[in-house]
């Protein structure tokens, strides 16, 4: 039997801020070397969970263990083995790019020359070595984010926690960040990330949990979740609701398709997308208002969070 090494595990983790219940008893286990994602909207409880792991929030209810050590408030010994990419950039605007890394390395007890050497290497890895003497303020959003990731790596952490690492980045910068994360994973580093981008979760997470209103709704690999929760194809019908023929439900039923009403139309989930596509014209639904595609994590998310209403 394979023994799985869990680096972080949580049982029934809850958190209350005043009368607001941010976490309602979540449990998860993160294996060494995997990329584990927390997917959910703002306010789902992802950041609260991250803050507990990296020591900005106390564990009041439930249990959290990191490397088999029970946690109330993550102590410095554990934090020295973590790399944190917080949601805000929190870079030092008074310092240059390299100085930011130097100063941060100093917090981990690295000497100035050690952190300079490591810092340059990290900047090189991030493709921004030529910026080493630039002021942080002059960097673009994408470069700032990469610098924050470089900063999180200065102590050569065993676990990296990324709280929405690509929010606000343009697609090109986002792909650069993903590339870096994949290469870190290939070096055996455990990655934990939160995101509300379904594509990001699909692209880089080995396993993920879908969070909504302080609860975990599902857990698995992106492919597993898609296979388990939704039918393989979806036809998006973008018509005003009054223009959708009333018989659609009946028709769909005959083809074992599931109908989900979403904000901008109706989603039709089915086993055989192409067969159903051919039927549309018989149902008085113009094909130009429709779009056939394979199901993805977003569909899982819509279904589980009830953002779409099942008909």
């Amino acid at each position: 039997m394979i023994k799985l090494d869990y680096v972080i595990s949580a049982q029934n983790l809850s958190k209350k801020y005043g009368s607001f219940q941010a976490l309602k008893g979540i449990s998860f286990r993160i294996q060494e070397g995997e990329c584990f994602g927390f997917l959910g909207h703002n306010g789902a409880g992802k950041s609260t969970t991250m803050r507990m792991i990296y020591g900005l929030s106390t564990v009041d209810e439930g249990q959290l263990t990191i490397w088999d050590q029970p946690i109330t408030l993550t102590p410095p010994e554990i934090k020295s083995r973590l790399g944190i990419v917080p949601q805000e950039d929190s870079l030092d605007p008074d310092l240059t790019v390299l100085e930011n890394l130097e100063v941060y390395g100093g917090l981990f007890g690295l000497s100035r020359s050690q952190s300079q050497m490591l810092g340059r290497q990290l900047l090189d890895d991030m493709g921004m070595l030529e910026k080493e003497h630039d002021s942080v303020e002059s960097l673009s959003g994408g470069l700032k984010r990469r610098l924050v990731i470089a900063r999180a790596l200065i102590n050569q952490p065993q676990i990296i926690i990324l709280d929405e690492p690509t929010t606000g980045l343009d697609p090109q910068a986002r792909h650069q960040v993903w590339q870096k994360l994949r290469s870190l994973k290939s070096q055996g580093v455990t990655l934990i990330l939160t995101t509300h981008y379904m594509e990001e979760a699909t692209q880089i997470c080995d396993r993920l949990v879908i969070m909504h209103e302080g609860l975990i709704l599902a857990e698995g690999s992106p492919m597993e979740l898609i296979a388990r929760c939704v039918l393989p194809y979806v036809i998006e019908i973008h018509l005003p609701i009054q223009d959708v023929p009333e018989q659609l439900m009946k028709h769909a039923g005959r083809f074992n398709a599931e109908v989900l009403q979403v904000a901008n139309g109706i989603f039709l989930y089915c086993q055989d997308g192409h067969r159903l596509w051919e039927q549309l014209k018989h149902w008085d639904i113009p094909q130009h208002a429709c779009f056939l595609r394979p199901s993805n994590l977003e569909d899982v998310f819509l279904k589980l969070t009830g953002k779409g209403e099942e008909q």
Binding site: G55, L56, S90, V103, L107
Partner: protein, 250 residues
Amino acid sequence: MTGAFRVLDRHLKVFGRTWQHNLMFNVMEPLLYLSAMGFGLGAFVQEIDGMSYIQFIAPGMIALSAMYSATFECTYGTFVRLHYQKAFHAMLAGPVTVKDVVLGEILYGMMKSVLFGIVILVVVALLGQIPSWQALWIPLFLILPGTLFSIMALCYSGITTNIDYINYYITLVIMPFFLFGGLYFPVSALPGVVQKLNWLNPLYHSVEVCRALAFGNPAQAIGFHVAILAAMSALLLPLPIRLMKTRLLS
């Protein structure tokens, strides 16, 4: 404590970049007071306790500079690091605790107090207004008021939610310290109640010690003033740590 020194190290690096502006701000003001009051008001005042007026107020300028340095660093400086730069959050993601962060702030405020106190000491000494070599103890002494003013300012920074509210602290706390602390006239001239209240004024104790050292008469109850400053620091120290924990952790 290692964590606190690492936090201090971060601040010193930033200080290495910004010290020119700092110097301007913390040193110019006491020197302006010294020249305006010393030469202006001094022309009408004969002598106080056997000293010329400018000699009387010069040691107070050292204490004033020390108070300002710690106060401004640990109010505006701390507030910006806490709320705008998110520097504390960034540090807490590393292997430091809130206590380390607060102690690092206090060490930084204290260090700036001593440093800018020294700058004023050197200036007034060069102007020939410091009669005694005992004044060389002043930098060592400034560690105490530097620490206390940093702690007090951090308490306020831990409570306040808007940078504009720092004005309340400056106007309602620091200004009375400055006006009634015996910098420009002997406190014996004040009504009895105000004299009593001055026991709670750290700047008063600080001015008394600086003046005594500058004139080489430490017999004048230096020990007492030092004891009060030390006791106030020790009593208040846990408070900013607690307040910042509330602010930073949830």
